[in-house]
Subunit: 271 residues, 2 copies
Amino acid sequence: MRFTDAIHARWTRNDTLLCVGLDPDPARLPAAIRDQPDAILHFCREIVDATADLACAFKPQIAYFAAHRAEEQLEALIAHIHRRHPGVPVILDAKRGDIGSTAEQYAIEAFQRFGADALTVNPYMGHDSVEPYLAWPDKGVILLCRTSNPGGSDLQFLESGGERVFERVARLALEWNRNGQLALVVGATFPEEIARVRRIVGDMPLLVPGVGAQGGDVKATVTAGCTAAGGGLMINSSRAILYAGSGADFASAARAAAQATRDEINRWRRA
Amino acid sequence: MRFTDAIHARWTRNDTLLCVGLDPDPARLPAAIRDQPDAILHFCREIVDATADLACAFKPQIAYFAAHRAEEQLEALIAHIHRRHPGVPVILDAKRGDIGSTAEQYAIEAFQRFGADALTVNPYMGHDSVEPYLAWPDKGVILLCRTSNPGGSDLQFLESGGERVFERVARLALEWNRNGQLALVVGATFPEEIARVRRIVGDMPLLVPGVGAQGGDVKATVTAGCTAAGGGLMINSSRAILYAGSGADFASAARAAAQATRDEINRWRRA
């Protein structure tokens, strides 16, 4: 299934805009799991199985696997999601960005090797660094636009020709989006900018990190970013869900946190 | 040894500004190697051994390994360079860029797992996305500034407050460079911009891709970018060296291509 179609189906049929981020920091894994073989996979699989019906997507962050030589665990995790929870798309958060010939290799890494349904991509190198991902017609390509971190303003907030750099990225994404594959990352810490991006890109999906541990406001995010149809957002929470509990009951604690966030999102989505 | 010191030593003692890029495209490996186990490692090791005395650095591009499940070959390749060619620093070209907690994991991946001496980093997410790499005091951090590809102009060439975005990146790098670890990527396809960056950053090292297969001019690059001391540049060539020959003599063909490029650089460096 096309990534965009899968996300739309989750928004409507499963009634959720919550994206569950999988950032398995080894130092924060529950004690009962930490020393097992394939602890990262084991932990993430439990989180996935406890939250899949509440998620519009899962978003594993590749650095947490690559730092610990755990690429095979990432492959197994994504295969598990596809097998056990068909219909829930997987966004590989890797923020790749390079010249065309190298981007072709990154596309193979993300879409063929890992089997991801979508990939986050850095727009700094421009159109030909994005094209190779768009050559995979079923896959989603999620460009960084306005990131949730403090340094995000260093370049993204520069003004040029009457608009900010992140607004320019949004307009470029609209232009490059011939096949409906693109989405944008806009941080929940900046609801005013979510609204500005929404005005530029129409119904294009937005991936919104920054609620939960990073402090973004759910009500402001939903109000600023939802489309008229009540969709359009993949609101990501990672640490607040993954580490909701640290004991043997971590998976049910994660489920409770995911459910509370999903419900909080839906409350404002319908207001 | 600190990355910056290692590079300076290569420039002066080994009289070379040539960086040999290791982008092992499986489709272009010599027939004699292609079907061997660990073909990527085998190919790169031959190139490395044939060119090490001519190189100021080696720059493996991680996508070419990750796309083919060859992380262990990359680990072995870098370990080989350190063991057999001590003093030649390794730049891991991965163009990472993410929020601080994730960047810490990418730093572990690059510097601890792979043992790289320097890493390329994308500046789009700003200062706190760069800081975690600078926390490794011996390591080099090479920020994308003005890239060599056509789409590089989409954002990097926007004008804001009387300067281009890439000039702003150069000024930020100067500001963030408290410990002398930073360098910048500036494409050989834009010698005028190399000169502008050089004026902004003083003696900061510049990694210059785009000579060879991408068509950048060696004379213009050296004239625009060398410091008064005749250093300051890591001029990268990948494909023109790697695929100089396709037969059993590929390693000696690579050496000849590397030597010609090194000599051509030195010719203008001294003019």
